[in-house]
Amino acid sequence: MSRPANTQKFDNCLIQWIDERLPIFTMLTKEYGVFPMPKNANYLWSFGGIALTMLIIMIVTGVFLAMNYTPNTALAFDSVQRTMRDVNYGWLLRYVHMNGASFFFIAVYIHIFRGLYYGSYKSPRELLWIVGVVILILMMATAFMGYALPWSQMSGWGATVITSLFSAIPVIGDGLVTWLWGGFSVANPTLNRFFSLHFLLPFVILGVVFIHVWALHVTGSNNPTGVEPKSEKDTLPFHPYFTVKDSYALVTFMTIFLSVVFFAPLALTEPDHFKHFNPMQTPPEIVPEWYFLPFYAILRSFTHDIYIPFTDIIILPAKLQGVMGMFGSLLLLMVLPWLDTSKVKSARYRPVYKWCLLLLLVSLCVLGYVGSQPAGGSLAVVGQVATAYYFLHFIVLVPVLGFVEKTCPVPASISDDPCCKH
């Protein structure tokens, strides 16, 4: 059999035989062996691979948890307790899965912040970035439905509050919520569909990650200078240089992750997550998982109806504003490539943007704190200021800075960057 033109020759004859029929080894060598990486990529570039590892860990532990899980309101809570007490290593599976969700979000949030800092969302990587935001949204949906499965107080009430968000949509809202629930409250039909979707979505995410990596391998990776590689001098083959670097980062990350799993497995979880769901009693305070807190705080920041001036006809009720604000905060990320007008990619050379971005990070942390506290009081104002900054950053500062900011000189190529002269 003659070799297709675009495949390469392997020494091992079995590999050669397979590759002639299915050029998978050619593909692997091209994409993960000789693939040119900008030589100055720092450790922030390791978090994509870390996130993918976390996804695989979630799928593996999830499949085994599902073998012992019963999606029925009368049995779900107890089946999870049985996993914890009676199933061999069930406690380990569950603690890895529970904390794995948190560390998956940690990895992805760092990965996204890397993109914001070094301008990785800009041309030619807009679509790559948008696919990434789609992954984030799918992850949020998956984690939200997974959290409902143990059927605890937090499960049931979290599910109630978040599904009720959709009732803010005019006209169809109430019908939509009934459809989501499959009834008139969060009950057995809801739990069943959440389990079905929680099982399915991670595999959808895997597919979207494949597209994400595909798009990445068309444009290549960005780097701390934001200057595209100009010659071979600017890059290094992925293997062994970045396989080794990424492995080191991965082992460090796993060490921290597993330390939490073994020594503080409940540090990130609310006590009310260990009480059976009671649809007749709301816990004193509903607190979502930490990775949702900033968005939850944005939701709660809208407390005043907007009227048509001089009348009392409400055009935008507070509730609808909150929901729009929460979803809008994610959609803004999607259109960010077109909001940013600056020619310079990396924040390294953008003295003003750099500080604005830092302020965005601070405001997200503040929102996270406000979201974890009871509603109302003086903290509400703090949350409103932070929410205002979030939107101001993306809608005003990012577009305007492109025109008014005086950027620092950008090196002509990666190799001309003083940091890269060795």
Partner: protein, 179 residues
């Protein structure tokens, strides 16, 4: 192949109609899938609940259950009803409703409502002794701080509507049937 002046052929037409039929087929196939997620017949089977009011004392609030939802029942005193009606001009409220329109005529002291916050579905506090009742003495939702008055009307916070009044009627002076 016949071709019109602008180059459209019979084949283009067939492609388009075949594509359109395909889209209709997919849409049709989606109907049972989407519909299966709506409440099933057993869930819909309208249950009614009867509540005996005879042992609820004046000033007492109790919580009954209907369709899996909490029902707040408040046995108000005559003065309280008067106060609530005089306290505010109901036309100025966010969800303008008079107290009289939220109760059954002749049973004005009995307030019967679905105990679900119209914001995002939490169950407001205030039915138990010692619960926080908010600034207006009615119910307080701990989730995002909505405050309802003694008629269950939204007065403060993010909830858009008053606590909903379920369909119910007085079977006798001390018995109601909800649903």
């Amino acid at each position: 192949m016949g071709s019109t002046k602008d180059g459209a052929t019979r084949r283009d037409f067939l492609y388009l109609t075949a594509g359109a039929m395909g889209a209709v087929a997919v849409g049709t196939a989606a109907v049972p899938l989407v519909s299966s997620m709506n409440p099933a017949a057993d869930t819909l089977a309208l249950s009614t609940a009867e509540v005996d009011l005879s042992h609820i004392e004046v000033g007492q609030r109790v919580v009954a259950v209907w369709r899996g939802k909490p029902i707040f029942i408040d046995h108000r005193s005559a003065e309280e009803v008067k106060e609530v009606r005089a306290e505010v001009d109901w036309h100025t409220l966010r969800d303008p409703q008079s107290d009289a329109s939220r109760v059954k005529e002749g049973h004005d002291q009995w307030l019967v409502m679905i105990g679900i916050c119209t914001h995002l579905g939490c169950i407001p506090k205030g039915s138990k002794q010692g619960d926080p009742r908010g600034e207006f003495g009615g119910w307080f939702c701990p989730c995002h701080g909505s405050e309802y008055d003694r008629s269950g009307r939204i007065r403060k916070g993010p909830a858009p509507r008053n606590l909903e009044v379920p369909p119910y009627k007085f079977v006798s002076d001390t018995l109601i049937r909800i649903g």
